[in-house]
């Protein structure tokens, strides 16, 4: 039964041993317990024993089974309880040292934070529980012995008291060695410290306590060194009870330390004992020490000879040591001190191997009970002899069984190791001879034989030595040596293993076998062993071992091992044979293979070419694929297999149709098309394929979302050798946007055309050279021309030849050069040679005048009307005034009284007639005036004049009227040059001043100001009259609008004066307005621009660019 790993349980195992020991010893030797001399504890000794047993059982449970956490705590508590109890009791009897030891061990069992279970990894180093606890115990012991000497107990109960300094020094040394951290570089230092300090205290112990005390402490110190040494040397887990030790701890170094120790102890024993202590050292003790030391000495002297019994002997020495020490402790009358000493060899024994429980029993409990047997014999007064013998025998038997199990286990381990090595050798090669050589070397060395051979056996039974091992100093018989099968196996029927321990004593080697025995003698063989090697049941080889340096009793285990290993050897031989055959076959094949290789190389070259091509194709395919995926459309290919089948389709179907590629209905996008488009598309496709030309047609589809999209497909058909179409491939693109734009454009174009064709004006488009690019129907109609005759011709062809101006003066030319509009009138010529006057405006096309648009209209009719109007005005002017002249003159004469006086009423009537005649005259004058001004028939004759002069003239005209009604005229006018029509400005001023006078009361003043400001001259005519209501300030400038309807009669106004003023001011580019507050008088303002260019001429004001002016003006004659 394999135990679980003891990692983390080391201390518990140790304490388990203590618990068992104490339980048993208290039961067996209650008197040996030093504390039992005190009356207080004696009645409880059986209970204490039971308690230790319970603690041991609890620890077994704790170590062996993975009990739950709470259970572990309980078990640890139960296990620690007796120790703590003892510690408490030790305190009560002032044995502080004992109390510390027991308490530390008890506490170490408990799951307390300062006693972590197992190794703990901290700051890169692993600390282990046991060395730590041990070190702490040693440190505590030293401190306690130093500071509190009484803690060592009374002189009657302990022998340690006289050796207090020794206790302190060795405790400190051990604590330093165990507790302080140890790095690689400090290993030798700590060992040096331990090695130097401990002997020093050893010497001290001799001086003060005698040889016996020195020996005890020496043992103690060496034990510390031994248990802590692996930590220093290899930084590996502490070996006590651990499962991780691989190297044999009993190698030379430790053996020498141990041997030296026991030799020293033996010397101590024979030295003169200290007074009072020698009495306790009986002959049994001396005997055991001598026995143990002798065994160790033998082991040291003859290591190879003792190899097989080595472990057993060593354990026996451990048992003896423990027993001896126990006896020594017992001799002091303190049975409980013995286990402290026993602990150290136990720990050393623990480092042997893996099986903890058996070793604890063997190294700890077993020796203990053997010791107790002997002790009971010596101290019969304390315990019956027979009972001690029985108990000791039983436990010793258990110990021996345990030891045997340990030995057996180690042997198995060794065999496994050997098997592994031999197997390794067998696997090293496929060549038979080196393989077998390696095997025999390994087997020979492992079994420590003189010779080892492997023989290959042929079908005749002849065995040939194929590999040979010979130990140093042994003569080899030589490879190639041949014997018969029967010589090896002593029989014709070889099977299994033959073992001969002594050739002289073997029955088959006597008589007929005598010759064979002699031949064996010649080669020095004393014992031998042989085994068959078979493969698939056939005997193919044999392996033999010779022992020449003495007789050898072959072990059954060795036979078993050989049988096991021979199977492997057989397998290896068979494999090697197969391998050799294979090599031959391979060589045959190789020749053939070379041919094949040549062919293969050729193929490889071709393959490489193909691979390259394939990669190129793949790249091209990928490029194409990327291209198609990014294409705003689809690429397709149909093939003819009785009907057209879609072979390839790629592209951005989703955006185009709303369907994913794989969702497209069969027949792809054409099936999505509207029915009317599909028919025409298919017809076009069929025609194109038949005529062997590329096709392109547009059609509409309905997308998944129900939208209508325009698609354009373009493609061509591919034909087979017979000329039949075999495939159609092409591309589909979305032209919806284009179609929409086209429709929109067409719409605009239609509207534009409609506008142009419907327009009454003639509209011509010109290019930058002045050539006609467009003539609308109205223009063609007016000119009586065909579009084809005009387009591309210079616009001048439309003109009457006699009136063609030079290009420099031509408004069209100016427009094209200056990129701004010009206008004018011209005489155009019809196709039949007749002419008509036209008014036109020429506008540049675009900011850079990439051409021009000329819009013209026939003004012949308008000119005729104007002529008639002018004539009418002339007639009205003359025909109305002529009779008025007679009436007015006659009335004036009569009224003057020059022709005789009239009665008063007659005179009054005459005045009424005269006043109304005057009013009629003014009315006629104003009507004519405004009509002519507003219809543009009055020419503004601008001249350089002076504002002050103009105002003076106006005042001169109005002064008589003002004087007549008693109104003052006041002026303050700057002399400012002005370019204007003086007559018109005077007329306006006169009107305004006249108005102001009319609405002024006698004695009031009319003020006339004129000032230049902001690039214009500002005229103000201000009166102090009744003012104008705010609502009328604007309307008074309209015709026949007066503030009061009665004014026209009262004031004799016509209601046209302000309208005339406004017309005049506006014709000059100025502004006119009125300001007033009722009752506060009113002021009339107008402005005229100073130094400003004349505004751009408009068609209605043909003052400039009269390019046809020489003949077309109707007013010129």
């Amino acid at each position: 039964m394999a135990l679980p790993s003891l990692h983390g349980n080391r201390l518990r195992v140790v304490v388990l041993g203590f618990n068992l020991y104490w339980a048993l010893s208290l039961y067996a030797f209650p008197g040996s317990f030093s504390l039992s001399t005190y009356d207080g504890i004696r009645p409880y000794l059986p209970w204490l024993s039971a308690s230790f047993l319970a603690g041991a059982l609890a620890l077994i449970l704790l170590i062996r089974y993975q009990i739950p956490h709470v259970g572990r705590i309980l078990a640890a508590c139960v296990g620690a309880a007796p120790l703590l109890f003892v510690a408490a009791y030790a305190i009560s009897v002032s044995s502080w040292l004992g109390a510390l030891n027991y308490a530390a061990m008890g506490l170490a069992l408990l799951p307390l934070p300062w006693f972590p279970a197992g190794g703990e990894r901290r700051e890169g180093r692993t600390r282990y529980l046991y060395p730590a606890v041990l070190g702490m115990i040693l440190l505590g012991t030293a401190l306690l012995a130093w500071l509190v000497p009484s803690s060592l107990g009374t002189p009657e109960t302990t022998f340690i008291r006289p050796n207090r300094l020794l206790v302190i020094g060795s405790g400190l040394a051990g604590a330093v060695a165990l507790l302080l951290p140890h790095d690689e570089g400090r290993i030798s230092l700590w060992r040096a410290v331990s090695a130097a300090v401990l002997p020093a205290f050893l010497g001290y112990g001799f001086l003060r306590g005698g040889a016996y005390s020195g020996g005890v402490w020496l043992i103690h110190a060496v034990g510390v060194l031994v248990v802590s040494r692996p930590l220093f040397v290899e930084r590996r887990p502490f070996p006590v009870l651990g499962a991780e030790v691989k190297a044999d701890p009993l190698d030379a170094g430790d053996q020498h330390v141990e041997l030296t120790t026991w030799l020293l102890v033996a010397a101590v024993v024979f030295l003169r004992p200290v007074e009072g202590e020698a009495a306790h050292t009986g002959p049994e003790s001396i005997l055991f020490v001598l026995l143990m030391s002798g065994l160790n000495l033998l082991r040291w002297l003859f290591p190879s000879r003792l190899s097989q019994a080595r472990q057993l002997l060593w354990h026996l020495s451990g048992v003896a040591t423990a027993t001896g020490l126990f006896l020594i402790g017992l001799g002091h009358g303190d049975a409980l001190f013995a286990p402290v000493l026993i602990l150290l060899p136990i720990l050393a024994a623990r480092s042997l191997g893996q099986q903890a429980a058996g070793q604890v029993l063997a190294a700890g409990v077993g020796p203990l009970l053997i010791g107790s047997l002997l002790a009971s014999h010596q101290m019969q007064k304390l315990y019956p002899f027979g009972e001690g013998v029985v108990t000791g025998t039983v436990v010793t038997a258990i110990s021996l069984i345990a030891i045997r199990s340990v030995v057996q286990q180690r042997r198995q381990l060794k065999e496994l190791e050997m098997m592994s090595r031999v197997s390794g050798a067998l696997r090293q090669s496929l060549d038979l001879v080196p393989l077998l050589q390696a095997t025999v070397d390994e087997l020979g060395r492992t079994l420590e034989t003189s010779r080892c051979h492997v023989w290959l056996i042929d079908s005749e039974g002849v065995c040939t030595a194929t590999a040979e091992y010979a130990a140093p100093g042994v003569r080899p018989i030589g490879v190639g040596f041949q014997v018969h099968l029967s010589t090896i196996f002593l029989s014709e029927h070889a099977h299994g293993v033959v073992q001969v321990a002594d050739i002289d004593a073997h029955p088959l080697l006597g008589g007929p076998g005598e010759a064979l025995r002699k031949s064996l003698h010649q080669t020095g063989v004393r014992s031998f062993m042989a085994a068959t090697i078979r493969f698939d049941g056939d005997l193919i080889a044999a392996v033999t071992f010779h022992q020449c340096d003495g007789l050898r009793a072959w072990q059954r285990e060795e036979a078993d091992f050989l049988e096991a290993i021979s199977g492997q050897i057989g397998l290896a031989i068979a494999h090697a044979d197969t391998h050799a055959k294979l090599v031959t076959s391979y060589q045959d094949l190789q020749a053939h293979g070379e041919e094949l290789i040549a062919q293969q190389e050729e193929l490889a070259a071709q393959n490489e070419q193909l691979t390259t091509k394939s990669q190129e194709l793949e790249e091209a395919q990928e490029k194409l694929s990327n291209l198609v995926d990014n294409l705003a459309g689809l690429v397709y290919r149909y093939v003819w297999r009785g009907n057209w089948q879609l072979e390839f389709l790629a592209g951005t179907s989703l955006e185009l149709t709303g369907y994913h590629l794989n969702e497209l209905p069969k027949g792809a996008f054409l099936s999505l098309s509207l029915a009317e488009d599909r028919l025409s598309g298919e017809a076009e496709l069929a025609r194109a394929v038949a005529e062997r030309r590329p096709y392109a047609f547009e059609y509409r589809i309905r997308t998944r979302e129900g939208q209508i999209r325009w698609l354009l497909t373009r493609g061509r058909a591919l034909y087979d050798q017979q000329g039949a179409p075999r495939a159609v491939e092409g591309i589909v693109t979305d032209i919806t946007d284009r179609k929409l734009a086209e429709e929109s454009l067409a719409q605009v174009s239609r509207e534009n055309r409609l506008l142009l064709t419907s327009a009454g004006e003639g509209i011509c488009g010109l290019d930058s050279a002045g050539k006609l690019t467009f003539v609308n129907p109205a223009a063609l109609r007016m000119l009586g021309q065909q579009a084809s005759d005009l387009l591309g011709q210079p616009i001048a062809t439309m003109l009457h030849p006699a009136t063609k101006p030079g290009w420099d003066e031509c408004p069209v030319g100016k427009t094209l050069r200056e990129a701004r509009p010009h206008s004018g009138q011209a005489l155009l010529q019809r196709r039949d040679g007749t002419t008509f006057p036209a008014e036109f405006v020429c506008t540049p096309k675009g900011e850079q005048a990439e051409g021009a648009v000329v819009i013209f209209r026939d003004i012949a009719e308008r000119q005729a009307v104007e002529r008639m109007k002018n004539e009418f005005i002339s007639v009205v002017s003359h025909e109305l005034r002529t009779p008025l002249t007679s009436i007015r003159g006659s009335l004036g004469l009569l009224n003057s009284g020059k022709l005789g006086s009239l009665p008063e009423k007659g005179q009054r009537m005459l005045q009424i007639a005269m006043q109304n005649t005057d009013r009629l005259v003014r009315l006629i004058n104003d009507i004519l005036d405004i009509e002519r001004i507003e219809s543009g028939k009055v020419t503004i004759h601008k001249a350089n004049c002076d504002v002050a002069h103009l105002v003076a003239q106006a005042i001169e005209v109005t002064q008589p009227v003002a004087d007549k009604v008693g109104v003052r005229l006041e002026t303050r006018v700057d002399s400012t040059p002005l370019r204007a029509d003086p007559d018109r400005i005077i007329q306006a001023l006169t009107n305004l001043i006249g108005n102001a006078i009319k609405f002024s009361e006698p004695g009031q003043a009319v003020r006339i100001d004129a000032r230049a400001a902001g690039g214009e001259i500002h005229f103000v005519v201000q009166d102090q009259g009744r003012g104008i209501p705010a609502g009328k300030l604007e309307s008074i400038f309209e015709r026949f609008q007066q503030v009061d309807a009665s004014d026209s009669r009262k004031k004799g106004g016509t209601g046209l004066g302000l309208a005339i003023c406004r017309s005049i001011v506006q014709e000059h580019g100025g502004r006119i307005w009125a300001e007033s507050e009722a009752g506060q008088g009113s002021s009339f303002h107008f402005t005229l621009p100073l130094h400003r260019e004349a505004p751009l001429a408009t068609p209605s004001l043909p003052a400039t660019d009269q390019h046809g002016g020489r003949s077309s003006s109707p007013r010129g004659g």
Partner: protein, 125 residues
């Protein structure tokens, strides 16, 4: 102030008569009249005149033409001519003035002030 001799050339009988009466009555001048341009020119060439009042709009020959004839004839060149016109447009008034006439008086005129105006224009104080 000696009595002035003034010729009125106007095809309008009423205007010719009213004007004659006015000037004779108000100013006491000797007023001759001619009902047509032709008659006027004949009188002007034959008689010693201080001024001629000439109507603009006349059949056969208008005022400006008559004035041109008067300027051509040595005998009549120095006679001041005042145009009487029913056309009151400024542009025409300006045109008439530019012909070289002494003055342009618009019809209808106030008979009371007509003689004064003529006298003022011609410097007859």
């Amino acid at each position: 102030m000696s009595t002035k001799r003034v010729l009125i050339i106007d095809d309008e009988d009423d205007i010719r008569e009213v004007t004659q009466v006015t000037l004779e009555t108000v100013a006491g001048w000797q007023v001759l009249t001619a009902p047509s341009a032709k008659a006027g020119l004949e009188l002007a060439g034959r008689l010693q005149l201080d001024a001629i009042l000439l109507d603009v709009m006349m059949p056969e020959m208008d005022g400006p033409t008559v004035f041109a004839h008067l300027q051509v004839d040595e005998r009549t060149r120095s006679i001041p001519v005042i145009l009487l016109t029913a056309k009151v447009q400024t542009s025409e008034v300006r045109r008439f003035r530019e012909l070289g006439v002494a003055a342009v008086i618009a019809k209808p005129f106030d008979p009371i002030f007509l003689a004064d105006e003529i006298a003022l224009i011609l410097g007859w104080s």
